[in-house]
């Protein structure tokens, strides 16, 4: 699914997937339908994400919140400090407004609640990419 804004782009947008569930990581990778997105890594917690982020320099990140070792909120803060222009889509089961507001204040650009359909995922990713 090429988005009009990105047609003709020279370099694919690099996507890092962060979620403690292997099933969810694989699902996001399998279900995203954008030709101009390249999945450059998948991390199971915030610490792994920081390491992969430094090594892969992604443009976009999908971020779970409830994870062992380092949660998503802290990870978002650190990623934004490292690369302020990175765009982050939170994908979380936490459905209260305060958490969404907190994530956005820390630097996230979008919020998608679990469970989600493929269509909802792709719409959220399209919105994230439009901000680039």
């Amino acid at each position: 699914m090429p988005s009009p804004e990105r047609r003709g782009a020279q370099r694919p947008l690099r996507l890092l997937i962060v979620d403690d569930s292997n099933i969810v990581r694989r699902r996001i990778e399998r279900s995203q339908q954008f030709e101009e997105l390249e999945v450059v890594g998948a991390a199971a917690n915030g610490l792994e994400a920081l390491d992969l982020f430094k090594r892969t320099d992604p443009d976009l990140v999908t971020m779970d919140l409830t994870m062992p070792q380092m949660d998503g909120i802290e990870c978002i803060e650190r990623l934004v400090r490292m690369k302020p222009e990175v765009r982050i889509l939170v994908i979380s089961a936490l459905a209260d407004k305060a958490t969404a507001v907190d994530a956005m204040e820390k630097g996230a650009n979008g919020f998608l609640n679990k469970p989600f359909t493929d269509r909802q995922l792709n719409e959220a990713l399209a919105e994230l990419m439009r901000g680039r």
Partner: protein
């Protein structure tokens, strides 16, 4: 103490999970209070500890056959023991996390822990009211157990 009307949050969360993740609604039965003993476990159980304003556990327990079909419906082709553990934990996490829509962010949930084996036993929280929410999906039965002070 958990009130009957609060169970609607978990019933709705369970219904929504199957409708969206499996694209096939589950039949969620009427919740019932556990009056003695502990509910029987299926082969895989995902457990979420709850702290903050409420205290207790929420767990989802399901047979391997149900989880296998659920994975298939998600276009997943890895049916390993690890993926069964992952899925049962993710279901528990998603339903518990969604409950914050009604309970707010002081309903603090842990990352999932997983028990495997039907002989596993999980003590309910002393002083809490514990309810079982029966779930029937396709030909399979599972349970969501909510034990909260």
């Amino acid at each position: 103490m958990l009130q009957e009307q609060e169970l609607k949050t978990f019933v709705d969360g369970t219904t929504n999970y199957f409708e969206v993740a499996a694209q096939q609604p589950a039949s969620v039965g009427s919740p019932y209070l556990v009056t003695e003993g502990t509910p029987a476990m299926h082969e895989y159980t995902g457990v979420i500890s709850v702290s903050g304003r409420r205290e207790g556990i929420v767990y989802f327990t399901a047979p391997k056959a149900m989880l296998t079909v659920l994975l298939m419906k998600m276009q997943e082709n890895d049916f390993s023991h690890e993926n069964m553990r992952d899925l049962v934990g993710e279901v528990a996490n998603t339903i518990s996390g969604n409950a914050r829509r009604d309970f707010g962010n002081e309903f603090v949930i842990s990352v999932p822990s997983v028990l495997a084996g039907e002989r596993a036993e999980l003590p309910l929280v002393p002083g809490a009211r514990s309810f079982v929410i029966p779930i029937n999906w396709r030909s399979h039965s599972a349970k969501l157990v909510v034990s909260l002070k």
